[in-house]
């Protein structure tokens, strides 16, 4: 991944970094930029602190929250990546915050205390990837039935499922 920087963005990013310097002094953030998209990787154990600092520095909207399963994805050592897409409504600047997670501990703090809009997004991420968000006010599956056993967007889940779509009683014509 090349570090293509774009002239118009650099000053904004530098200003953001200096604003974050006080509140996130002890945290190592990995910044990168690709085609005017600013990305920052936060450590999972300091995630809530980072997200609160991002919100305090102007990113008042969580536009999206999703995850990526990095199984068999090139030269990466981590299994899951949780992605927070943030927007500063006043300046229009966007920031993509990421954090990495590995099995067996797939628990990260919920972002609902920072942006309440994370509620359904986190439930969907749990539904599809099995990542647990601790501190969520109503933590259960969003789309799939409550008794569903697997997490279907994981790369090791077969696309046709493990028989969930066939697990129903058959009604014959004589008994209906």
């Amino acid at each position: 991944m090349s570090n293509e920087t774009c002239g118009s963005n650099t000053s904004e990013v530098e200003a953001l970094k200096s604003r974050l310097a006080d509140s996130l002094s002890g945290v190592t953030l990995e910044w990168s930029e690709f085609r005017e998209q600013v990305r920052v990787v936060c450590p999972a154990n300091e995630l809530l602190k980072c997200l609160s600092a991002f919100k305090a520095s102007g990113f008042d909207q969580l536009t999206d929250l999703t995850a990526v399963d990095l199984l068999e994805y090139g030269n990466v050592n981590d299994r899951f990546e949780v992605v927070y897409c943030l927007l500063n409504i006043d300046t229009g600047m966007r920031l993509i915050a990421k954090t990495y997670l590995n099995e067996p501990d797939l628990t990260i703090p919920s972002a609902t205390s920072v942006w309440f809009g994370a509620d359904w997004l986190e439930r969907e991420v749990y539904d599809m990837y099995g990542i647990v968000f601790s501190g969520h006010p109503n933590f259960k599956r969003l789309l799939l039935p409550d008794d569903f056993q697997s997490f279907p967007l994981r790369k090791d889940y077969p696309i046709k499922g493990r028989g969930e779509r066939h697990n129903f009683p058959v009604i014959t014509r004589a008994e209906s």
Binding site: K155, K160, G161, G163, E164, R165, H166, T172, R173, A174
Partner: protein, 200 residues
């Protein structure tokens, strides 16, 4: 003797069986239950609208309560969360009742060969007429209703005896590629071991 009666009564009396009379009435007053979940539902609406005008064939009274219907038209894909609802609605419909599976998705799952989509409703409930197409044109749906009317008139009975004979599931058997995947997983099949594609 017969000619004598014929002369006296003319066209005022005709003889038939109770089965045929009941079937004739049922075939030409089908009340469909539109179970429309996808784009086939749009074609179903078009079939009932003025251009194609399903009421010319005696089945225009769409009812949204299963208690008032005798023809279920499943139009669109059915996912695993929707199938229990579909079965319940089917069981709530009064006898005699029939089912049309409209479109590729309702018949076979169509292009949605994934973990969540049921691969044909006939695996789990009885179907009388299948309509292919993605989505089928209104003419095809009208043809299927005419075919169903013929089926009712040719085999229908007044006390629905013909349904009592259908005691076996009528859909395809459960063995398919999914079973194959599960068997291979049970035998230690791993994703990185081999590029196993069950379709090609």
């Amino acid at each position: 003797m017969a000619t004598q009666i014929n002369k006296q009564l003319g066209d005022n009396i005709f003889l038939t069986t109770l089965d045929a009379a009941a079937s004739w009435g049922r075939a030409h007053s089908l009340w469909p239950m539109p179970f429309a979940t996808a784009c086939c539902g749009i074609e179903l609406m078009s079939t009932a609208a003025s251009k194609h005008d399903l009421s010319r064939f005696g089945s225009e009274v769409m009812r949204f309560s299963p208690r008032q219907c005798d023809l279920m038209i499943v139009a669109g894909r059915v996912v695993m969360k929707m199938l229990p609802v579909l079965q319940r609605i089917w069981l709530q419909m009064p006898e005699p009742k029939w089912c049309i599976s409209m479109g590729a998705c309702a018949c076979t799952g169509g292009v949605f060969d994934t973990y969540a989509v049921v691969q044909g409703i006939d695996r789990f409930m009885p179907v009388d007429v299948y309509v292919p197409g993605c989505p089928p044109r209104p003419e095809q749906l009208i043809r299927s209703i005419i075919d169903l009317q013929e089926k009712i008139q040719s085999g229908g009975t007044i006390n629905a005896r013909e349904f009592k004979l259908r005691i076996l599931p009528e859909g395809p058997s459960r063995f398919d590629e999914d079973e194959l995947i599960r068997i291979r997983e049970r035998n230690g099949f791993k994703l990185e071991d081999q590029k196993y594609d069950p379709v090609h």
